[in-house]
């Protein structure tokens, strides 16, 4: 088994009387992506800022490649790459010049610097616009450059803070490929996102946080399995039929009705066979059904179950 590159133990940060991060623990191994998922204000950015030495934790500790973020920030900065908001790429420089700037600041030796910049441009397919000013880029191109710049010194740990927020679907797909490639090259990646699909597609492990606390963790599939059951959603033609339909559908606890949407929701114990049975009973009782669908649990359900329920 791989040794974890990023180790976080009991991390805590308080602003005034607001607990931003309340005792966070996780580990990230080389070559894997951890998705840090949570609503706005959950503590994602604070966590990233502590791990990248921009803020100090009030309690707990974190090490990156063996260096302590609180006590050895200078060494930590040599083994991390941070990207996300795209604010650091310079509009009036080209992609090549931006990458060269970061390479110089990481103090890459001069001969290696140029080779590494060329290699990244080639590897991540930036050649088409590498020598144009960033000011002329699309949002997606800009974001890709921003993320690639984090790789310049081959850091073993990479932090991406909401890298795809506000991107169109195609740019998002391109960026996902790049993020996956980073992990494939051996980096331990921490990715924060509000997009569940993104975590589902990219992350090997997911930590869902809300108000600074871990509310769920695991691989995407495990999280969905834990939440459990498939859901049958039925739209009836006449809302007056709903009470009777609910009665026919099964035990009260697993059935919910919504008269406004003429909708019946049934949590299924036994998946598709039970769905068929419910639909047959409705049909036998002569209740007209307009539409139905069988929904597998999504990460959205996991997320909503663990976050909104607590509010």
């Amino acid at each position: 088994m791989n040794q974890p590159v990023i180790v976080v133990e009991g991390l805590r940060k308080v602003y005034g009387d607001v607990v931003a991060v309340a005792g966070l623990d996780f580990e990230v191994e080389a070559g894997t992506i951890l998705g840090l998922l949570g609503p706005n204000g959950a503590g994602k950015t604070t966590t990233i800022e502590i791990l990248t030495t921009l803020r100090r934790a009030d309690a707990g500790r974190a090490t990156i490649a063996g260096f302590d973020v609180g006590r050895q920030p200078e060494l930590v900065r040599r083994v991390i790459g941070l990207a996300g908001q795209a604010a650091a790429v310079d509009d009036r420089l080209t992609a090549r010049e931006n990458l060269d700037l970061f390479a110089r600041l990481y103090k890459l030796p001069a001969p290696e610097r140029r080779a590494r910049v060329d290699e990244l441009i080639e590897r991540f397919d930036l050649g088409g616009f590498a020598d144009r000013l960033v000011a002329t880029y699309s949002g997606g191109q800009r974001r890709r450059l921003d993320v690639v710049a984090a790789l310049i010194a081959r850091p073993p740990a990479i932090f991406l803070d909401e890298p795809t927020t506000g991107l169109d679907p195609r740019s998002r797909l391109e960026l996902w490929r790049e993020i996956r490639a980073m992990a494939d090259e051996g980096a331990a990646v921490v990715l924060t996102t509000q997009y569940l699909e993104e975590a589902d597609r990219l992350a090997d492990d997911i930590v869902i946080i809300d108000r600074g606390e871990v509310v769920a963790r695991g691989a995407a599939d495990e999280l969905k399995k834990d939440l459990g059951r498939d859901v049958l959603v039925v739209h009836v033609s006449d809302p007056a039929d709903l009470p009777r339909a609910a009665e026919l559908a099964g035990d009260g606890a697993d059935v919910a009705t919504d008269a406004g949407h003429r909708m019946l929701t049934v949590q299924l114990g036994d998946g598709p066979p039970e769905a068929l049975a419910v639909l047959r009973r409705l049909s036998d009782a002569g209740i007209p059904v307009e539409d139905f669908q069988l929904r597998r649990p999504t990460l959205d359900d996991v997320f909503l179950t663990h976050t909104e329920v607590r509010r």
Binding site: R77, R78, P109
Partner: protein, 264 residues
Amino acid sequence: MSAVDLPFEPPSGVRGALIDVWTMARRDLIRTMRQPEYLSFSVVMGVFFLVLFELVFGGVIAAGAGVDYDQYLVPGVLVITAVTGALQTGNTLAVDLQYGADKRFRSLPMSRMAVLAGRTVADTIRNAVAVGLVAAVGYAFGFRFTSAGSAVAALALTVGIGYAFSWINAAIAAKVRSAELVGMLSMFWLFPLMFGSNLFTPTVAMPAWVKAFADNQPISVVATAVRALANGSDPGLSVVGSGAWIVGLLVVFVPLSVRLYRRA
């Protein structure tokens, strides 16, 4: 995980910091060359004051004060060019802080001070060019230095006070973190210094308390020194006073800027 072996040992300490300062300054200079309006702003400002005062007020002031107005006005205009050019430091830094560009820099293995120092160095190099251009325009109006040596000394003091003012602007930007606010605040601290001064007219006719301020504040002291150097007259304490102001402002505002910036 035990600590990894780092692939190479980068230059550290003062040498590493100097590399960072130059890297950041170089980046700003490339940007300036791509967008020369930043340079032209302070040149245009200087030429604007030169033409305005020379043509509009020059006759009256020269007659009233009994001075050769070209020799009087141009040194003041050079100082204005330098101190308004220094406003750029506050603007660009505030924009970076406002939009979080500096966060990335603070996560890099680089000197924290270099983000500020690189910018002030770049702004000062640009300022030297602007002051030189305005001096050339002054030459066309009839302004003269008595010797090349005095010209170099005078321009050095002018650029020096601009450098010190860059750090004042850096401190303000690090504190307020908004380009709009930095611009607005400059009206309140820089304009009184520009007009409560001997830049445009001798201070003899001012009320005593205004005169005391106008004679001794940094912009006037430097302008007086530049005038004396240009005319080959006795500078009195003005050259030493200029050096003292420049050093004094740097001693206060460099550490203050760095502290305010780190607090981010």
